[in-house]
Symmetry: C2
Subunit: 112 residues, 2 copies
């Protein structure tokens, strides 16, 4: 998507602190971290949000969580615990319309 | 799993407020809700956490998010926004060792 911030980050037209990259996924540090570990893991395919997922995205989403597990392990977040979150829409504070999974860790996380 | 709380809920050996059920998934209201909509969506297969996912679970996890989308739509959470979260381990406050996806909605959600 031409005007999508995250598509530009994937294409390296915009800078990011890259954590992981493969053929289908890209991960980078959140610029407004709310935890010591705060990484965004995104599919390279432009999918606006969870609301837009279709049956054809099933395998991609499954794979995304295996990538998240791999990154959590590399960041040693698996030892102390971590959170994986999709925010969808306004009430959840989704600010970029490109599906992104938050990986939060490195501290005791609040819950509400 | 014999001693798993959520396996017992799936088998209806323990009561729950059921929101959704199909061959592979089960969803019910969280007994300690932190938002007006707070539903747990779980695979019937006993998987302890995101850390235990393997490549063979890919399709199941993809399907779980299509189920989550369907429930969010039925609960009208898609209109105002919602959050989908896996808590993994201690720092995230995972209390039951059976993979469960939190669906939170119906209010402006905090972020930290």
């Amino acid at each position: 998507m031409k005007d999508c911030l995250f598509c530009k980050i994937i294409k390296k037209e915009l800078p990011s602190k890259i954590v992981y990259e493969d053929d289908n996924f890209f991960a980078f540090n959140d610029i407004n971290p709310v935890a010591p570990i705060h990484i965004l893991i995104i599919p390279k395919k432009h999918i606006p949000s969870v609301n837009s997922l279709t049956a054809s995205d099933k395998e991609l989403i499954g794979e995304l969580f295996l990538v998240a597990q791999k990154i959590a392990r590399a960041e040693k977040a698996t030892e102390t615990g971590y959170r994986l979150t999709f925010n969808v829409g306004e009430n959840a504070g989704q600010t970029v319309e490109h599906l992104h999974l938050h990986l939060l860790g490195g501290k005791k996380l609040l819950w509400s």
